[in-house]
Symmetry: C2
Subunit: 222 residues, 2 copies
């Protein structure tokens, strides 16, 4: 499959490399073609790895990962262009982290989220929120966290969520670990989890962590 | 031990009854003495169960649970009175839930939390945030959720956290399930987790749920 990864940071490079290893053709997108990190990544990994502008990458990909900072995501997708994105699955892995005050805050939360704002701005795009609740290395290597643990996904389009889940399984997430928490409004919860995640990181001394959801059988089960 | 439970709702009654079963003397506090729910609770459970105003209860308790709505917690503690609370452990189990828009929002989040605002307003009180991340029945019956799962606590005072952990163990939480996530600033993460919790509830079809934290060994372990 042809996949675009928007963003040249640690998350973007980690996802792009894992997608390549999974046999996909990957184009990394950034603000300007010839971005140093993107060029270095493409030459380092070899294979069907290319780089270009956000619009180049979005036009190339059948599926698009947004691995840019949450606070820039809307501008990035505008640069990518609605026509390049139309009808495609966009997996939004971003978090609206804002450290400008010296401590973690979210640049949007409570009454909105990045995932929702992208879906509103690009109604023809099938946005699925996923992966933002774990660190980059765990996104593509869930086995690095001991035992079973949960990957949340949400979005308005069931087919898009099934496609996203298949890509997650390609990263090693067992089907039964992927928990669909409903429409794209669930992005609010997935993004607002970040301040707790940061404390879990501090308490654990490692970012290689995740949570497993455990629930009693639902009252109408059996 | 003499324990005050502020709040006569489901959370307050559930905690108060469990504390009584644990052999404690419990006084339930509400805005006015003779509150119908509090009187009904005290007569139903029998034993060393009494009720009174927030100030009566706070003066009685060696430990105080805040089981009122997060958006009212500050006013409740002001009614209880700084002199009744001074030096005591206050376990804040509240959530700043605001359904006034028709969907869940938090009345405070991102740059503050109920737990932090209580600690700021009452510097002589030893505030510990705990229990707000699970439904009332799970607070006092963690075994109703299958397997092991995590109870977060935070607060500025290590002795207060140890006291709170002992009370949680009295409810059935294994010591190793109780995860200290640092100072009272952790309340922000514990409260902002609620929108995700609500989605987990909807996805699971039951509120009898929780998460277990799983982390790789920290880099400096062994």
């Amino acid at each position: 499959m042809r996949i675009a990864v928007l963003g040249t940071g640690n998350v973007g490079r980690t996802l792009a490399s894992a997608l390549l290893r999974g046999g996909h053709e990957v184009r990394m997108g950034s603000r300007t073609a010839g971005n140093e990190a993107a060029v270095a990544w493409a030459s380092e990994v070899g294979g069907p790895a290319t780089e270009g502008t956000f619009a180049d990458a979005a036009g190339f990909g059948e599926v698009v990962f947004n691995a840019t900072a949450g606070s820039h995501a809307l501008a990035v997708l505008e640069a990518a262009g609605a026509e390049q994105l139309a009808g495609k699955l966009l997996i939004d892995v971003s978090n609206p982290l804002d450290f400008s005050t010296g401590s973690l805050q979210l640049s949007v939360c409570n009454d909105d989220s990045v995932g929702e704002s992208l879906q509103r701005a690009f109604p023809d795009v099938r946005v699925v929120k996923a992966l933002n609740t774990v660190t980059a290395s765990v996104m593509v290597d869930p086995g690095s966290v001991p035992g079973t643990h949960t990957m949340f996904i949400c979005g308005d389009d069931a087919t898009a969520k099934a496609q996203a889940a298949a890509l997650l399984q390609g990263f090693g997430w067992p089907a039964e670990a992927i928990l669909d928490i409903g429409d794209i409004g669930g992005a609010r919860g997935m993004e607002m989890y970040l301040p707790l995640w940061l404390r879990l990181y501090q308490a654990s001394g490692t970012a290689v962590l995740n949570v497993e959801v455990r629930a009693a059988p639902a009252p109408d089960d059996g």
